[in-house]
Structure formats: structure tokens, C-alpha cells
């Protein structure tokens, strides 16, 4: 029987097949490239970002990280554009806006199967409030952020006022602010809250703006505790011990809070965060940290947040992306950022090694981390921020501008019930509640 191919042809075919197989094998070993968008900041500066990439690639030679470092002001536009276009979004990024959450990869199973990382490694409340969405794990909390009151010790000493302590009340805050205010020095005692139903609201007792089942605002938005909180705001504004919103705008704090006035010694106390704390420490300000004031007997709340580090649902390399995510937002990556930058990690075991851990201000900061987060309620009630807060903003504005009398607070809030109820009813079918 004659062979179908002669020997030479068979040899050629064999060589070709071997070549194809070897090329295919080599291709399979080519490193996978993961795109990562992040921000350069004092907490996580460019050298720290590069160091994370270097350390990860050394451990994972088959994964390459293509990092894009961008400015804070650019980030939102770029994420909106790429998510809107449906392509071009990075494999890994901060997904901090709620509308971006449906575009994140569910990593619940991957995290549960991870032998090196667990949700228990993180601060519990930060994980629950910032990494979980609709019972899915949609990311890992990167760093911890919280509001607290920073007080300028030099201003207090100059005014002969004792430093505040953790057991102070909201009315103590007003009295201290008045004592620190000095018009000749263009100095205010303290700042104003930046919105209702944040920590101090809840510390007074106004724990929520509407019912847990998201059906009614009556008795919540205008309940006795809410009236007490709004009246406290009225007293603070009336005291003249705080800069007006116009002062804050004119003095150019660019939406970052009144940290500039605080650093300049023109604001004795300010509700700031740990990012501001680092800024003030670097500027050589002599300051201390206390939790926001609260009413004895009430639960203490803190307005806190984490950066949500997530994987884009459209990634072509979910396994490799998770490898990097768990490195960057896990103990190794956060430790690198802490040591090179000034990151405060979301993992207690890493945070306890913080370089300035003995400093008074850091101890003060640690003191607020255990309070209940305002995000706990907000996370399950999305209509508050998107709809109801707008409907009741008139009451806020009228008090901030000094346009109503103290005894008109109750009536003003009563007038907000109808628009707030309408906003809630419109929103709940849309966003849930």
C-alpha cells in the first residue's frame, strides 16, 4: 500500500506541528497584563504605588501591572467615561461612586477560598459598610477614614481654654467655640457641620431621617431629636463663633474642608479627617484629636469611610486581577503604602505598626474607630442621600443663613415633611430602601 505522504512531507509536517505547539506553549506562558488606575496622594504617593507594583511582580512573574496614576480631580471623569463607553475601564480601580457598583466583579467566592486573606482581617464595620453591596463582596476596603474634631493647642493656650475631652457635649462645643473666638485676630472658635444626620446629629439622638422600612418621614425628620439637633445648629450659627459658608468659600478651601484656616490658627476647632491630620502634622501644627461631641447616654457615632478597591466586571483576567487586588488592598500592599506614604491601613494588624503610633493625635484617631459608623444605616437606605436630603435642604439653608428664629425650627421642619415624604416615595421604587 502506497503511503499517503512521503517521508520528507511527513517530516515537514511534524516540524511544523512541533513549531505550532511550541509557539502555543510559549504564548500560554506570556505574562498577563492587568490594568490598574490609582491616585497619587500624601497617603499613597507615586513611589509607594511603584513599590507595590514592583513587589507584586517579583512575587508573580506571570502577571504584569500596567499602572495609571492620575490626579484626584481627573479620576471621576475618566471612570464615568470608560464605564459609560462600556470599554476601556481598568481591571482594578477605586469604585467609590454608588452608580459604579453594578460594574464591579463579585469576589465573594474568591475571598472565601483565599487561604491568605479573610474578611476578618479587616476592621469589621469598614468591611461591611464599604466592601459589601447587596450581600455581595464587591471590593476590599483600602485605608480607613473618619471624621473627628481637631483642636489647635496654641489657639486654646492663647485663649486660656482647657483642651476638650472625649466626654464633651455638643453644647460644650458651642461654649468653647465662643471662648476661642477673637474678632480682632479674625479667629473663629470652631467650624459648622457640613450636613444633617451626620455623626453629631446622631450623637444628639436624631438617629435617622425616616423609618427603617423606608415608608415614612413623619416623626423622624421633624421628631423631637431632629428638632434638638437642628436647634443646636441654630445656636451654633447664632453664636457667631463659626465661619459662614461664604467665609469658607472665599478663603479657598476648595471643598477639602476648613483645614487651611485650621493650619493658619484662625480656626480653633474643626471637624476634619485623618488626611487632614497628616497635612496638619506635616505643617508643624500643635494639635490634638477628640471624637465629635455627643449627648451622654446616647450611642456614639462616627462618620467614616474607606476607599473601595474593586475589580471591573468586564475584566478578561478575573483570577489575575484578584491576585493583584488581594495584594494591593491586603496586608502587603497597605503596609508598603503605610511605610512609604502615610496610609492608615484598614487591617488592624497592620495599622498597629503605624510609624507615628505613639503620637497623641494618632491615639485620638484610634479612639474614634470603634464608634458606630453613620454609614451602617445609610448603606441600606440609598434614598437618604439621593432624594430626601435635597427635599429638606431648605431647613438647613434657612438656619445656616440665619433666616429663621429659634422658635421657628419646629415649624420649619414640619413644613419639610411633605416634600421629604414625596421624595422618599418617588425614590424607593427606583433605588430600594
Amino acid at each position: 500500500m502506497k503511503l499517503l505522504f512521503n517521508r520528507k512531507t511527513m517530516t515537514l509536517i511534524s516540524v511544523l506541528l512541533l513549531l505550532i505547539v511550541s509557539i502555543g506553549g510559549a504564548a500560554a506562558q506570556d505574562p498577563v497584563t492587568i490594568t490598574w488606575w490609582t491616585l497619587a496622594s500624601a497617603e499613597s504617593p507615586e513611589p509607594a504605588i511603584r513599590a507595590v507594583v514592583e513587589a507584586f511582580e517579583a512575587e508573580h512573574p506571570n502577571i504584569k501591572i500596567d499602572v495609571t496614576i492620575m490626579a484626584e480631580s481627573a479620576y471621576g471623569d475618566l471612570m464615568n467615561t470608560t464605564i459609560g463607553a462600556g470599554e476601556g475601564a481598568p481591571d482594578i480601580a477605586y469604585f467609590w461612586e454608588t452608580p459604579w457598583l453594578p460594574h464591579t466583579l463579585d469576589i465573594t467566592d474568591r475571598l472565601e477560598a483565599d487561604p491568605d486573606l479573610s474578611r476578618d482581617d479587616y476592621f469589621e464595620e469598614y468591611f461591611n459598610n464599604w466592601a459589601v453591596y447587596n450581600d455581595r463582596v464587591v471590593g476590599l476596603p483600602f485605608t480607613v477614614g473618619a471624621n473627628f474634631v481637631m483642636y489647635n493647642k496654641d489657639v486654646f493656650d492663647d485663649a486660656g481654654v482647657d483642651y476638650p475631652t472625649a466626654d464633651w457635649t455638643p453644647w460644650d462645643y458651642i461654649e468653647i467655640a465662643k471662648a476661642l473666638t477673637d474678632p480682632d485676630k479674625r479667629r473663629w472658635g470652631g467650624d459648622r457641620p457640613r450636613g444633617p444626620f451626620r455623626a453629631i446629629w446622631r450623637n444628639i439622638g436624631a438617629t435617622k431621617p425616616y423609618s427603617d422600612d423606608s415608608t415614612t418621614v413623619e416623626g423622624y425628620i421633624n421628631g423631637p431629636d431632629a428638632v434638638a439637633a437642628y436647634t443646636w445648629l441654630w445656636d451654633l450659627v447664632d453664636s457667631g463663633a463659626t465661619p459662614t459658608p461664604a467665609d469658607i468659600e472665599v478663603l479657598g478651601t476648595e471643598g477639602t474642608g476648613p483645614v487651611d484656616l485650621f493650619i493658619a490658627g484662625r480656626l480653633g476647632m474643626a471637624t476634619l479627617n485623618n488626611g487632614h491630620m497628616i497635612t496638619a502634622a506635616n505643617a508643624g501644627v500643635n494639635f490634638g484629636v477628640v471624637p465629635e461631641p455627643h449627648v451622654p447616654g446616647n450611642e456614639r457615632f462616627v462618620h467614616a469611610w474607606a476607599l473601595r478597591a474593586s475589580i471591573w466586571a468586564g475584566t478578561e483576567h478575573p483570577d489575575e486581577a484578584y491576585e493583584f487586588l488581594s495584594f494591593w488592598a491586603g496586608p502587603e500592599g497597605q503596609r508598603i503604602n503605610m511605610e512609604i506614604g502615610a496610609l492608615m491601613p484598614s487591617l488592624p494588624a497592620v495599622l498597629e505598626d503605624y510609624p507615628d503610633a505613639e503620637a497623641d493625635y494618632f491615639q485620638g484617631f484610634m479612639g474614634v474607630l470603634n464608634a458606630t459608623q453613620t454609614a451602617e444605616w445609610r448603606a441600606t437606605h440609598p434614598c437618604w442621600r439621593g432624594a430626601v436630603i435635597r427635599a429638606v435642604s431648605d431647613a438647613w439653608d434657612l438656619i445656616m443663613l440665619g433666616e429663621i428664629a429659634r422658635d421657628e425650627v419646629q415649624a420649619t421642619l414640619d413644613a419639610m415633611v411633605e416634600p421629604a415624604q414625596a421624595a422618599l416615595e418617588e425614590c424607593v421604587p427606583r433605588l430600594g430602601g
Binding site: 491616585l39 497619587a40 496622594s41 500624601a42 507615586e46 500596567d66 495609571t68 496614576i69 492620575m70 490626579a71 484626584e72 480631580s73 481627573a74 471623569d77 475618566l78 467615561t81 470608560t82 459609560g84 463607553a85 470599554e87 476601556g88 485676630k185 479674625r186 479667629r187 478663603l251 479657598g252 478651601t253 476648595e254 477639602t256 474642608g257 483645614v259 487651611d260 484656616l261 493650619i263 493658619a264 490658627g265 484662625r266 479627617n273 488626611g275 487632614h276 497635612t279 506635616n282 505643617a283 508643624g284 501644627v285
Partner: protein
């Protein structure tokens, strides 16, 4: 004698009134200069404040009373700003983008405007209106489709998305240039045509040399717009080393605070090229704008 006396008297009166007019003119000039110096100082105040802030410590920036001239200038702020981010590289990148856009504008705008100003073709007015209408579309609306397009073309993270549009003509400049060209007498074209020049010859030898004021407007405006453009570079660029200075400056504005002293130092250095360009081009620029405004 009487006549001589009268003549002398008239001469003296004339001399006196001449001296009075000179005095009045002098006072008038002095007043004008005083007002101009006052306005110049007023307009320079923000730049002076920027320079002052760039030499302060963070705690001095918002201090009261404000310190106009820092008692201990922090010259190291400049070194810190340029050491923190590669601002020199970013300025070079901006210069490359500016040069490429200016070249693109100088090529595309006169050619397109020449077509609208000198030729008749079907739907000319409709096309001109269509082109003008693109100016009414807000830039943000175009971002997602443009991103999608350049993504498909594989041009993300290159300078092409920031350069290519200039080579297809900017509608605002085309409008300006068309209006300017319409003011140039057609007899010049006819004379050139009699001498044997074709359409391209007329454009390059007659029209473009006469359009120098309008071209200066194209150059200066392109320079300022591209130098200051922030949104498009952040959408299309990814590489840390490829950012322009507008993006580099944004790094000083963090999530929680702004490093004002470094930010002001870097900004002050970054506006120097714009000031230099304006200084050298102002004569042509003002002339160009005025002639477009009057003749257009």
C-alpha cells in the same frame, strides 16, 4: 510801534496759551498713566499673591493679617514642587502638544476657510452652518463617543487624540479666518490669476501672507487652549510621563487638602511660557482681533 506792541502781546498770549495747553496735555497724560499703572497693578495683584504664596510656609498662607512679602521666603518650595512631580517633563510634553496643534491649525484652518471664502459649491451655506453648529455642542457630550472611537482605533494613551482634531480644522478658527478672507479684495486673486497663479498659488502667495493677523490669533489661542487643556489629556493619556503640565498641576490638589505653596510655585512657572508668547504676539494679536472685529 503800536502795531509792534500788539504783535508782541499776541505772541505772548499765544505762548501762554501754548504753555497752558502743554500743561493740560501733561496733566492729562499723567492722569491716564496713573490710571493705567493702577489698573496694571490691580491686574498683577493675583500673580503677585501667587508668587508670595509660593514662598510661604503652609501655616502662613491663610494667616491674619496677611503677609504680602514673606519674612523668610521659602525658596525651597520650588525645588520641592519640581522634585515631587516631573513638572519639567510635563512642560515639555505640553510644548510638544502645543507645537503639533499649532502646525495642524495653520495647515487646516486656512485651507478650509479659503474654500468657504472663495469658492462656490453645492450646499456651501448648509455646510458652513453645520460646521458652526458643532461649536454649540458642549465638549463633555463628545467625550464618550470620542473615547470609544479612539479606543477602537487603538490610540488611547498616545498623543494622537489630542493632536488629530487640529488637522481637521477648529470651527471657531475657520469661522474667524473665513470672515477675514472675505475682506480681502477679490481683485488681488484676479490679478494673480492673470499672472498665471492657480488656486493653491493664490492661497499661499496672496491670501495667507495677508492673513497674518488672523493666523496670529490662531497661534496664540491654540497655544493658550492646548497649554491649559485638562479634560482631554486625562481622558486619553495613561502614562505618568506623558501628562501635560495642566494635569501635573492637578496632583497638588489632593483628596483632603491642597498644597497651596507648592501649587502656586508650580503654577507660576507654568504660566511663564504663556506670558512670553503673549508678550511677543500681543501687537499682532490685538491687531488681528481688531481687524476681524471691524471687517468681519
Amino acid at each position: 510801534m503800536r502795531i509792534d506792541d500788539q504783535a508782541l502781546s499776541i505772541q505772548q498770549q499765544l505762548r501762554r496759551s501754548g504753555a497752558r495747553r502743554r500743561r493740560q496735555r501733561l496733566v492729562g497724560h499723567a492722569l491716564v498713566y496713573a490710571v493705567m499703572i493702577f489698573l496694571a497693578l490691580l491686574f498683577m495683584l493675583p500673580i503677585f499673591w501667587m508668587a508670595s504664596t509660593s514662598l510661604k510656609l503652609p501655616r502662613e498662607i491663610f494667616a491674619w493679617p496677611p503677609e504680602w512679602i514673606p519674612s523668610s521666603p521659602q525658596w525651597g518650595n520650588y525645588a520641592e514642587a519640581f522634585g515631587k512631580y516631573p513638572l519639567g517633563r510635563y512642560m515639555l510634553n505640553s510644548a510638544i502638544l502645543v507645537a503639533a496643534n499649532i502646525i495642524g491649525g495653520l495647515i487646516s484652518v486656512p485651507i478650509i476657510a479659503y474654500g468657504f471664502a472663495r469658492f462656490e459649491f453645492p450646499f456651501k451655506h448648509v455646510l458652513f452652518l453645520l460646521m458652526l453648529s458643532t461649536m454649540m455642542v458642549p465638549g463633555h457630550i463628545k467625550l464618550i463617543p470620542m473615547f470609544w472611537l479612539y479606543q477602537k482605533l487603538g490610540l488611547i494613551d498616545t498623543y494622537w487624540p489630542l493632536i488629530l482634531p487640529a488637522y481637521f480644522g477648529n470651527p471657531f478658527f475657520i469661522f474667524l479666518m473665513t470672515q477675514f478672507m472675505r475682506t480681502i479684495p477679490r481683485e488681488l486673486d484676479d490679478a494673480a490669476r492673470i499672472d498665471g497663479a492657480g488656486a493653491w498659488g493664490i492661497l499661499f502667495r496672496i491670501i495667507i501672507p495677508l492673513c497674518r493677523p488672523a493666523l496670529t490669533v490662531v497661534v496664540v489661542f491654540t497655544f493658550v487652549w492646548v497649554w491649559n487643556d485638562f479634560l482631554e489629556p486625562i481622558i486619553f493619556l495613561r502614562d505618568w510621563d506623558s501628562y501635560p503640565i495642566s494635569v501635573g498641576l492637578a496632583f497638588f490638589q489632593g483628596r483632603y487638602s491642597v498644597e497651596w505653596h507648592l501649587f502656586m510655585g508650580a503654577t507660576l512657572v507654568s504660566i511663564i511660557p504663556i506670558l512670553v508668547v503673549y508678550f511677543f504676539a500681543q501687537k499682532h494679536l490685538i491687531g488681528g482681533l481688531a481687524s476681524i472685529g471691524i471687517k468681519g
